[in-house]
Amino acid sequence: MDIHHKRRLLLAGAAAGGLAVATRLVLAQTPERVIKIVAKKFDFTPGEIRLKKNQPVTLEFTTLDVVMGFNLPDFAIRTDILPGATSRLRFTPDKSGEFPFHCDVFCGSGHESMTGTVIVT
């Protein structure tokens, strides 16, 4: 049991070390993608976000007018978007296809049409 325990610790340590090295390598070679999305009544720009499967990405949101929301239910992620602040969502799409997103904070006459699509290939 003691040996097993030690071995587990050793393995965990090795994995952590390996991960750290890998992360450093990735950062050095290809900086993680950041996509800026600007919300304004009643539009997201870009309205079409193209992502690669299994590639982590950070979405960065700002709003030009009122409080908005960004909701991408197929990946169970959402954020509020507040005036004067930047909201960030980091995730790794694990499936490909077209997935609708929408503003989920009622923001005015036209709110219903504040939608877009994430396309994962």
């Binding site: 909701n71 197929d74 997935f99 989920d104 904070v105 005015g108 709110h111």
Partner: protein, 306 residues
């Protein structure tokens, strides 16, 4: 989540299809073998029926309904001409269409109220939809119609109106959930409970915002009761769904029909068809039988009489 929903939908569709041949009437059955309603003390256990109208969107203009200024009045006339007088009428939200102008919002609520006053039945219950209330947290709505969540009893049935729209994030909120818990605490586990709400309390299709952010919390509170049915609006079409033993029934709209959940890329209104004016629009009669506590007979009725 999507799969669980599809499964539940298939089950409810099967039980509904079995009964769909009855000329527009659908019998909704929940628990069977529960027969002590007649023995409940204090409840006047009589058969009765009420009318559900929804999503009138007064103030809307556009191609999806070229008679946007006349549809609500036609529905009022149709309800008034029912042979049997309903016990009461309920509007499940989106009385008016969104406007960013607070004065215009009040004007629309006023006009809607005037038209609804033409109903012969004066016992009418209102609640807001997100179009009425989300931009000002229900402020203008309350000036005309009072509280946005409340409860009332009718012939042994306890009706609870839940507001999931005055919060612009489409949530019920902790304060109201505490109120709901308190309301339910006062009712025996077998009490007959009917919930009215605007948005679905379950995740019908979150991709189109057809959900309530904290709706699961309300459903969880309601699950403790054996005898709960939910009637809601918002999705502009007839829809039936079970969460556990609780049946949820969405009503048609009186302005334009919306597509079936996920059936097209965007949640755009179904186009008006000149060959079939008012198609997909209508209201609903709900008959409650005292002898069958979980049975409600739903009859969908068209905007135009006959």
């Amino acid at each position: 989540m999507k799969q669980a929903h599809a499964g539940a939908q298939a089950i409810s569709r099967r039980s509904f299809l079995r009964l769909a041949g009855l000329g527009g009437a659908i019998y909704v059955s929940g628990l069977s073998g529960w027969s002590s309603a007649a023995a409940l003390p204090g409840g006047a256990n009589e058969d009765f029926f009420f009318i559900q109208l929804s999503d009138t969107h007064w103030g809307f203009e556009g191609a999806p309904n070229p008679d946007a200024h006349g549809t609500l009045q036609k529905a009022v006339a149709a309800v008034n001409s029912l042979e049997q007088v309903p016990d009461f009428i309920v509007f499940t939200g989106d009385l008016t269409h969104t406007t960013d102008d607070p004065q215009e919002r009040r004007q629309r609520l006023r006009e809607f109220k005037d038209i609804a006053a033409g109903l012969k039945v004066k016992n009418v219950h209102f609640m807001p939809g997100e179009h009425d209330a989300s931009l000002d947290h229900g402020e203008a709505y309350q000036e005309f119609f009072g509280k946005t969540h409340y409860s009332f009893a009718h012939k042994g049935v306890n009706f609870i109106v839940i507001d999931n729209v005055s919060d612009p994030t489409g949530a019920i909120g902790e304060t109201q959930l505490a109120w709901l818990a308190d309301e339910l605490r006062q009712l025996p586990p077998q009490a007959r409970i009917v919930v009215f709400t605007h948005r679905p309390l379950f995740d019908l299709y979150p991709q189109w915002d057809w959900a309530t952010r904290d709706g699961a919390k309300a459903v969880e509170l309601l699950q403790a009761h054996a005898n709960v049915t939910v009637f809601y609006g918002h999705i502009h079409q007839e829809h039936h769904h079970m969460t556990g033993h609780i049946a949820h029934h969405a009503a048609k709209s009186l302005i334009f029909p919306l597509p079936a959940p996920g059936s097209q890329p965007k949640r755009t209104p179904l186009p008006w068809d000149d060959a079939y004016p008012y198609r997909g629009l209508g209201y609903r009669q709900v008959a409650a039988e005292a002898a069958k506590p979980m049975d409600y007979q739903l009859t969908e009725l068209p905007v135009l009489k006959g």
